[in-house]
Amino acid sequence: MLDVAVLLSIGRHPVSGRARRAATDAQALEMALALRPRRLTAIHAGPPTDGEALRAYLGMGLERLTHLVLSEGADPVEPLIAHLRQFDPSLVLTGRQAEDGEGSGMLPYLIARGLDAAVVPDVVRIGPADAPNSIPGAADLVQALPRGQRRALTATGRFVATIHPSAPPARASAYGPARRGVIEPVAAQATADLFLSDCEHRPWRPKPKLMRVKRGGSALDRLKAATESKSGKGQLLVNPTAEAGALAIYDSLVEQGMLP
């Protein structure tokens, strides 16, 4: 029923540095395949050397993939928008943050501005959550929030969704389909990304972890605050009846906002 486009970037293994499929982009492709759209367009924009790593996406059951061939260091946003305009998809799925390059997570927002679409971040499910009374023309989505919470919302019109890592996991990539799939190269024009070449890059060195130490007080106080979990100055009930104990727990939980 839908026209879906997926944007796929090249990932980088965090330890070996080898090119691979990017984790959340593969999850985006998985979600796109699960939606069984009328037409599925998978697009990658990048230098011609990216071809081999893209085959990992084809191995997930994708038949063809468009590769917008750019020169090294070019900005992929403009060619991607121009290409997506031809297809006019009603839904664009992307990963959350690229694993290589700048990785600022800006691309979905820039694409959405170019296509005049809404952006929904951190999507884990597309389709009705639990309520059947959906508005026509609107899509039901489920978003992941911190601490494992979920939020349902609706988006009207065309939208770009970025996929959260806790979305359904991507299927494994099979070798045969990866070889059989077709990568269609399309030449594209793009301007160089001047901001990125203006940045100085150097290897990342891990920083010392920020500790929340209490300032002031004596050295002993600070040592205690840094090493002890908590000094027990709590409330103590010794041998209450079961009911009194339960009531104390109940009141404390209500006070903490854990029970209504």
Partner: protein
């Protein structure tokens, strides 16, 4: 006030005793009061000398050894007097040279740790050239004065509860146009980072996302999946990575409401394309222990596993246990809390029959509120807990289930 002399007399116990002895009657008797005896003038009292040289106690002791002992008492008293009232001076920036905007999340109305870190980062930029930090959030600015906010713009109260990111982004863009701040900082949290990217896309500006270090002429961030550090002049729009800057401590700023010429909250013009947001109920036992907010935990003192399971369901809490419980197979291994299990950061931890071995307590250092039920008054868990109940877990669990069901139906 009599000041102890820096020269102490030498105590000679034999001479003292001899002076107090009265030899009348059959046996010698001792006078109760000591009598003054000869003094050895050469003996120094290092403690008194040190006390006399003490100039200040807070924030750390300082001594002035060159001073004469006579004037010591007066100055030392002043030093102690100042230390007794540690008032933090109010810092006022009346005529700011430029403005730094800090757009805060304030999830659930509370100023989060990440919000404080964003204000600390904004202060780095503001203090370099006499600028002022303007915080923008729902709610009043009073809580932000101690975090380092000079001016505060309050967003409408109704915005705290509903999720309309487009409206927040529109408000930020409007403030950007009205105040023309030099920099705008956002927390790089799911919500704050989302709004920041919307603002950057709308303004057509570059976002420097996830800033790790910041100075007036250089900001750095992690790029290429965390393998490179990219450095650049601070751009106008930046998001601040979590735990990159220590929150400020011991400062007090004005956090005075900023008077705006015109109301900038013009976010209502275009209808938001995202709507109908509501929280979904999640199955607490499907959450991983590191994610969940409320944990019900069992130790070796629990034998009634039926009640334990029912209680978890009634409370809507994620079930967990100590190592003994997981070893015995009552709970799966990934539900073990502690040094060799999961380190949890839940807001509330309800422990039944757990002794509180160091290996277990290590797993719950990040927990804010601990409730413990144990039959042993001297258990370590009872000392750690904010509410401790010395009672039988097998009796309290069913009572708590009954109480929750009663209150729910009432």
């Amino acid at each position: 006030m009599t000041q102890p002399s820096p020269v102490r007399r030498r105590v000679d116990p034999r001479a003292e005793r001899a002076a107090r002895t009265i030899l009348t009657g059959q046996r010698p008797r001792l006078l109760p009061q000591p009598v003054a005896v000869a003094v050895n003038g050469r003996r120094r009292d290092p403690r008194a000398l040190r006390a006399a040289a003490l100039v200040q106690i807070q924030p750390r002791p300082r001594y002035d050894w060159a001073r004469d002992a006579a004037s010591a008492g007066a100055t030392a008293a002043v030093g102690i007097g100042v230390a007794a009232t540690p008032a933090i001076p109010l810092q006022v920036i009346a005529e700011p040279a430029y403005l730094i905007l800090a757009m805060l999340d304030r999830p659930g109305g509370e100023v989060s740790e990440h919000d404080r870190q964003v204000i600390a980062a904004a202060r780095l930029l503001a203090d370099a050239g006499g600028g002022a930090v303007v915080t923008v959030s729902t709610g009043s600015g009073d809580a932000l004065a101690e975090a380092g906010s000079d001016r505060h713009v309050a967003l409408p109260d109704g915005w705290a509860d509903d999720y309309v990111p487009e409206r927040r982004a529109a408000a930020a863009s409007a403030l950007m146009a009205a105040l023309s701040p030099r920099h705008i900082l956002f927390p790089d949290s799911p919500d704050g980072g989302d709004v920041a990217r919307r603002v950057a896309a709308a303004a057509g500006e570059r976002l420097f996302a996830g800033v790790q270090s910041l100075g007036p002429d250089r900001a750095t961030r992690q790029s290429a999946g965390g393998s490179l550090e990219a450095g650049h002049r601070p751009t106008r729009l930046m998001t601040v990575a979590v735990d990159a800057f220590p929150p400020l401590d011991g400062v007090r700023h004005e956090a005075r409401p900023l008077d705006l010429a015109a109301p900038v909250m013009a976010g209502e013009e275009l209808p938001p394309r995202l709507g109908g947001a509501r929280r979904l109920a999640v199955d607490p036992d499907a959450l991983s222990l590191s994610e969940t907010d409320f944990i019900l935990s069992a130790g070796n003192g629990v034998t009634d596993w039926q009640s334990f399971a029912e209680l978890g369901e009634a409370l809507g809490a994620t079930r967990a246990g100590s190592r003994v419980v997981c070893d015995a197979g009552h709970l799966p291994r990934e539900r073990q809390v502690g040094a060799s299990g999961m380190v949890v950061s839940a807001r509330c931890y309800l422990a039944f029959g757990i002794a509180g071995a160091p290996q277990h307590l290590q797993g719950i250092t990040g927990v804010r509120h601990v409730i413990a039920v144990n039959t042993d008054l001297h258990a370590e868990m009872i000392k750690r807990a904010d509410l401790s109940i010395v009672a039988d877990a097998q009796a309290v669990m069913p009572a708590l289930i009954r109480l929750i069901r009663e209150r729910r139906h009432a």
